[in-house]
């Protein structure tokens, strides 16, 4: 037992002692500056992006769609396929010949929707695969953890699907950027719609996913629903990935509330909504009014999972494939041609983030994170499906219109599940980056 192992050791010892001196140089120090100006400076004919998405867990569906979008983005950047949004993007720097003349390659990893695993996988991309930029994530907890890792390591983080205020609020980082909207914008967009449809005298009951995004979402909806005169009866926190929500839904019936706010996402939302409908909540009359359910953050993938149950339920979304502008149409067309179905909002935001990064590098003329930060801060663009958009310099958050959607009563296809009720313009959802709930410190950019 173990005898052979020791022989290997001895052999290694012989080789090792000779190479000992060289060891220090052979080993990849990701924190040493060395000869290159910044971490993972691409020297060959290619540049590597790191796509870090959940492939298992509660957000696996979103993760799979994100990865499809990234692969499409890489094709378009390298000049394969129909070019997608490169044709409609207001910045015309990218020609489909790679980025700065380098072919785009990528490495993938599984975040497992766990901070630990996501950071390990991001570290692997940075230290081993030489990724110059990390993007992805389908949970705000993970996004915040990976964003701070990228800040420490000195690479750019382009956040994927993360909706918590904190990502660009109190946990904002100079090296991190977010295209997706946040809970504050959801609240600001949904408030008037809820008022118009459900009136001012309502009692709300929250079920909230118990992590940074859920807390943020609950806070924003409370803020805007209380502003229109609603009363918050109770807010109950549920563990992420709970599966069975019946124990949380039963008390709702006896609470005297007449609106249920489901601050859930992904499979959690599919389960909690389905169970709430099965418990007959929507057929009830409370306080002389119809009982209503609101899902602040909606996506087509979730609507697909929840099926019939989403009919008539309001929510907000970053983007929807049925939008008729040129950019959205181009994206739906090339995504559909490759995969055979329309993209989700997660796919859209990830695709756009990859393109925005590539464009920033092209405009800056360098992959240096600090140059890219400079190119993206205050960048205004259009043609990406969300109308005119600003990457605000103060907090690295994109400001664009927010969609209020409703579960379609009469879907015409299996993908036609959400109906866009209103496109809330960017001015209506813009907030002060130094306000109490948002104040954070970007710090200095880190190039490693």
């Amino acid at each position: 037992m173990g005898g052979f192992k020791s022989k290997i050791d001895r052999r290694t010892l012989l080789k090792g002692t000779a190479a000992m001196g060289a060891a220090a140089f052979a080993s990849p120090y990701f924190f040493t500056k060395g000869a290159s100006a910044y971490v993972n400076e691409p020297t060959g004919s290619s540049v590597t992006f790191g796509f870090n998405v959940p492939q298992t867990g509660a957000y696996a569906d979103e993760g799979a769609d994100e990865l499809r979008a990234y692969q499409l983005a890489v094709e378009h950047l390298n000049g394969e396929g129909d070019g997608g949004l490169l044709n409609t993007f207001s910045s015309k720097e990218l020609k489909g010949s790679g980025v700065l003349g380098k072919k785009v390659e990528f490495t993938t990893g599984d975040t497992q929707t766990k901070s630990d695993a996501a950071r390990a996988s991001a570290k692997r991309m940075i230290e081993k695969d030489g990724a110059i930029m990390i993007t992805g994530g389908s949970s705000s907890g993970v996004a915040i953890a990976v964003q701070s890792l990228c800040q420490e390591a000195g690479v750019i983080f382009m956040a994927g699907l993360t909706h918590s205020n904190d990502t660009t609020g109190k946990d904002r980082r100079r090296n991190g950027f977010r295209h997706f909207f946040n809970t504050e914008m959801s609240g600001a967009a949904l408030g008037p719609v809820m008022e118009a449809n459900y009136g001012n005298d309502r009692k709300a009951y929250h079920l909230t996913a118990d992590y940074t995004w859920g807390w943020s979402q609950e806070g924003s909806i409370k803020k805007y629903s209380e502003a229109i005169g609603w009363e918050t009866v109770n807010a109950v926190r549920t563990p992420l990935g709970a599966g069975d929500f019946s124990q949380y839904i039963t008390p709702v019936l006896n609470s005297g509330a007449d609106v249920l706010i489901l601050n859930h996402y992904g499979k959690d939302m599919v389960n909690s909504l389905t169970q709430a409908v099965q418990f007959g909540l929507r057929d009830k009359q409370v306080n002389g009014k119809n009982f209503e359910i609101v899902v602040p953050l909606y996506s087509r993938l979730m609507a697909q999972g929840a099926g019939e149950n989403v009919k008539g339920i309001f929510g907000s979304t970053n983007w929807h494939w049925s939008l008729q502008d040129e950019g959205s149409q181009a994206f739906v067309k090339s995504f559909g041609a490759k995969y055979g179905f329309p993209p989700s909002q997660a796919a859209h935001t990830c695709y756009v983030q990859a393109l925005l990064y590539a464009d920033a590098a092209q405009r800056a003329g360098s992959f240096n994170p600090c140059a890219i930060v400079e190119a993206l801060e205050g960048f205004e663009f259009d043609g990406m499906g969300n109308g005119p958009t600003l990457y605000r310099a103060d907090d690295h958050q994109c400001f664009k219109k927010v969609l209020v959607v409703k579960g379609n009563e009469n879907p015409t296809s299996q993908f036609d599940l959400l109906e866009v009720v209103q496109e809330v313009p960017a001015e209506k959802v813009t907030y002060d980056p130094t306000g109490d709930e948002f104040a954070g410190d970007l710090g200095a950019c880190n190039a490693g």
């Binding site: 005898g3 052979a26 080993s27 990528f106 901070s115 081993k128 992420l240």
Partner: protein, 389 residues
């Protein structure tokens, strides 16, 4: 070489540990062909090596299968981050505090769980670990920060840190100005791995270790002869809890963030897999097992179709496409599948784990070369079989 393992000679142990140390510190060189020589993965090899070594002190020696060892890992992690928050970013207090707190924690859980043995013991430890996980996730959110994970913030007291310098940058654990990141972090973990393996080796060889092996062989017989085994098993449980606490602390030293998912039952199951895969009851086995599992998790899971296409690019187009689509089932998202197959193969054909495989190959080579040494070893082993093996 066999002699060193079968006879407890102190000199032989020292030679072995020296060889082991050389193997650990030359990892950046000999792991290069496997693409695993980057700091983060090597740090993980060392940390999970410590975790599995500690687990093996309990499982390998006493035969008590704990299914809740991740709880101690988590407790160690949280303690380490709290020491960072309160005392400052020096890793030494974090290591000491984590080991002590995990030890006390293990004492409490062990005291209750060890009243039962066999499957009941496993279930009790599993229940405790899941309790800890759920508490960390929900009720104890003020202490653990729930799902988001506990982090060190700039506004934390950190009373021993010099707060006049560096106010905005990331907070990284450091000692004497050496930052516990990258290769420095790896060497720090590596040194602790060598020390802990040496301690484990001494425990294996000691009379205390013999007593633990006796517990594994036949606890009833020991009880009938009037030996109270509980203090011995409890001591083993506490020691292995402390090892787990140390591993948890190291995870936070290289990356100051503690999340509740470290305590989940899957993490407890993982260390059981590591130990069995490598070889239960051997000193080097669990470390090999830990390395294998972490290698699969980090390298195999990262293979995508693009990588595979590159590997098979020398083959004709049609054939390489078929191979890519077949192989892609076993890598990337499917890495669990290949790990499962490997685990089954090992359990069925090599019940003693990878170390058994290695020693079989070793014997085969010895037989081929026809050395007398082999007979001597074989004879030596037969005449004095190790209890519980």
């Amino acid at each position: 070489m066999m002699k060193f393992f079968s006879q407890s000679s102190e000199k032989g142990d020292l030679v072995l540990i020296a060889l082991f140390a050389v193997a650990v510190f030359t990892m950046p060189i000999w792991l290069a062909p496997f693409g695993a020589n980057y700091p983060d993965l090597m740090q993980r090899f060392a940390i999970f090596g410590i975790f599995a070594t500690g687990f093996n002190i309990l499982f390998g020696l006493t035969g008590y299968l704990s299914f809740g060892h991740a709880a101690f890992l988590g407790v160690g992690s949280y303690t380490a981050v709290w020491t960072f928050k309160l005392l400052g970013m020096n890793p030494i207090p974090a290591v000491i505090a984590s080991v002590v707190v995990a030890g006390v924690f293990a004492l409490v859980i062990g005291f209750i769980s060890l009243r039962r043995s066999g499957i009941y013991f496993s279930i009790l430890t599993l229940a405790f670990a899941q309790m800890c996980y759920n508490l960390a996730y929900s009720v104890l959110t003020p202490i653990t920060n729930g799902e988001t994970g506990l982090r060190v913030l700039h506004e934390d007291p950190r009373i021993f840190d010099d707060k006049t310098v560096e106010t905005t940058g990331p907070l990284i654990s450091q000692i004497f100005g050496y930052q516990m990141q990258g290769m420095t972090g790896f060497y720090f973990c590596g040194i602790l791995l060598v020390i802990t393996v040496f301690i484990a080796m001494r425990i294996f060889r000691s009379p205390f270790g013999m007593m633990l092996k006796a517990v594994k062989t036949n606890q009833n017989r020991l009880n009938y002869t009037g030996v109270n085994t509980r203090p011995y098993t409890l001591a083993a449980f506490v020691i292995s809890g402390m090892y787990a606490g140390l591993a948890g602390a190291l995870m936070c030293i290289i990356d100051p963030l503690a999340g509740a998912e470290r305590m989940q039952w899957t993490a407890s199951g993982e260390v059981v897999l590591m130990t069995i895969l490598g070889g239960v009851g051997t000193i080097i086995g669990p470390i090999i097992g830990a390395g294998l599992i972490k290698y699969f998790e980090n390298i195999f899971s990262a293979f995508n179709d693009q990588t595979l296409a590159n590997i098979y690019s020398f083959l004709p187009d049609g054939l390489s496409e078929v191979l890519v689509s077949v192989t892609s089932l076993f890598v990337g998202e499917g890495w669990h599948l290949s790990l499962g197959i490997l685990f089954m193969l090992i359990v069925i054909f090599l019940p003693g784990g990878v170390t058994e495989g290695l020693s079989r190959i070793g014997k085969l080579i010895a037989r081929r070369t026809g050395k007398a040494q082999k007979n001597e070893n074989e004879g030596g082993r037969r005449s004095s079989p190790m209890p519980g093996e």
